[in-house]
Symmetry: C2
Subunit: 337 residues, 2 copies
């Protein structure tokens, strides 16, 4: 049995920089037609020169793969409108991080006063630039995302023409918020469709499944699966694939992030098949994102076959999800067009 996906897109991806970028970028570029690339470098991507230089480094790192990095700018509340206009063609979205909430987010937003954020948000709304948000408060780890929902709603109400994407949602509260405001959308990762906190800390502690937002409760996973498996038009696949070197994951004080880029499509295919939802996978991994962002990806055909694939223990020093395990589906062929 084989299945062909057309131009799969990963709408939330960490490609990092330097050696790590070179070590892992091809893993995404081989099987995806494009990805929304997160700007949380050190320092974050906040100007045109940095953005273009980062894009050039990405293109260099992926070599001859056909892959389009959709670039994002790191949100600042006081971006000049003219500045954003000059960048409009270069960026697909702007990514907002609450300060200190995850890897390299120290320069993010503290407090969510609408008037303070208005200069950038109004310009984005006028220019049609979507806003991506890592929506967590600094509250108790299991409550952070649900506590952020009122902030999503405040922003959605204040800027009704601004498309706001709730990134890597993990809770039933975020799923419910999708229905309350027309301009709220969401990305969902692979791992949050599969694991709960039980998989991270219910048996032995599993650092390679530790991420932010942390995986939540079974009923949260069910809510995510419900909208993903029917390719709800407001949700898109975004892996949040976030590589760290093995030693930084298997350590006292382990960094947050799950590396799923090389196995995402194989696992999603098996998951959607198991739920009799294979016909919805194309929209979840590409169609919905094209409509929400108004983008046309480069043509790419990825054929998966139901042949076992044993996941390598590491990809250039990064341990992937399912390392050493055997998946049901393999990437059989990738062709342009």
């Amino acid at each position: 049995m084989a299945l062909t996906l057309h131009s799969p897109l990963d709408m939330h991806l960490h490609l990092r920089d330097g050696e790590m970028l070179h070590n892992i970028a091809k893993e995404s570029a081989h099987t995806f037609a494009g990805a929304l690339v997160m700007p949380n470098l050190v320092p974050p991507v906040t100007d045109k020169a940095a953005l273009l230089a980062y894009k050039a480094r990405i293109l260099e790192a992926i070599g001859d793969e056909h892959f389009r990095p959709n670039m994002t700018l790191f949100f600042k509340p006081d971006y000049d409108r003219a500045f954003l206009e000059t960048l409009r063609e270069e960026i697909t979205a702007i990514k907002l991080y609450p300060a200190g909430i995850t890897t390299n987010s120290e320069g993010g937003v503290s407090g969510f006063d609408v008037e303070e954020l208005r200069p950038t948000l109004q310009a984005m709304s006028d220019l049609g630039i979507p806003l991506c948000i890592h929506g967590e408060t600094n509250g108790f780890v299991m409550d952070r995302e649900a506590e952020f929902v009122p902030i999503y709603e405040k922003l959605a109400k204040a800027f009704p023409k601004l498309k706001i994407i709730m990134e890597h949602i993990t809770t039933k509260e975020s799923v419910a918020a999708l229905e309350r405001f027309e301009n709220l959308y969401a990305t969902i990762t692979l791992h949050h469709l599969i694991i709960t906190l039980d998989d991270v800390a219910g048996g032995m502690l599993q650092p390679h499944l530790f991420c932010k937002p942390i995986a939540k409760r079974p009923e949260d996973r069910e809510a995510l699966l419900d909208v993903a498996l029917r390719a709800h038009p407001k949700v898109m696949f975004g892996s949040d694939s976030a590589p760290h070197p093995k030693h930084a994951k298997e350590a006292c004080g382990c960094a947050a992030g799950v590396f799923t880029a090389p196995i995402a499509l194989q696992v999603l295919t098996a998951l959607f098949e198991r739920h009799n939802a294979l016909e919805k996978l194309q929209d979840f991994v590409s169609g919905n994102a094209q409509k929400i962002y108004g983008i046309t990806p480069i043509p790419k055909r990825v054929t998966l076959s139901k042949e076992p694939f044993t996941v390598p223990a590491e990809y250039n020093g990064v341990v992937p999800m399912y390392a050493g395990e055997t998946l049901e589906y393999s990437i059989k062929e990738v062709t342009d067009g």
Copy 2:
């Protein structure tokens, strides 16, 4: 400023066996007058010969420290009454583990049918042997203890003369259960008075704070603090100090357990002082346990002084809680009598 504790007791302690026993037993034996020693060895302690041999190994490991190991037997549902009678003077309690719920608990109980458990429980009730339970279901990690409360209550009701100790409680639900049945008691660890899941997984992942039951929510910690700080007569200190080698904690698939034995009294003193509850500490760390178990510990005076103590990075290869940090209180003097 100095404070003297009389015969402090640790009513839930893992001393392990072999090399680990030799590496860590003195850390408890130095500052505690006694401890309730858990029987989850491989194989578990289920007969008199094994019990006496383990006790002898403990006494050998602690050398010339004055310390009484209060021994426990690993619960089996069908212990012979005559067998328990012959052991009555040798054991302080019997410890029940649900099967597979924590380290070396594979031989524990599956299902909690009162009639199946009756042979041992009725004999224990008649002989006045307290029952210690690791109360967790195999449900979602944050719910396991609260889900077990009905089982505690079923047993408390079926055996009203049996003293049942809810071990290392972590939730407000367990605290509330204390009030509902006269024969329910509880131990509380040091770390569950201090940390929540936030400390384990809210920032970077902290394997040395990963334990079973896992630390819960802020309101759960508040409920534990409330009964501990007033030395509620049904609660006792039990560290659940559970050493693992450093490499087993800082690894992919980290083992559960926090090693607190060498720092427990120092940290408890600072904690009770901060809450203006120093006058309750003696009962929490000794008096309540003496009454609940009807035991008279060996005399020991442990004097703590308000002098900084920097916690070693390791004790013979085991990383303690607060490794490398400086505590407010030090052990100043330990004397017999």
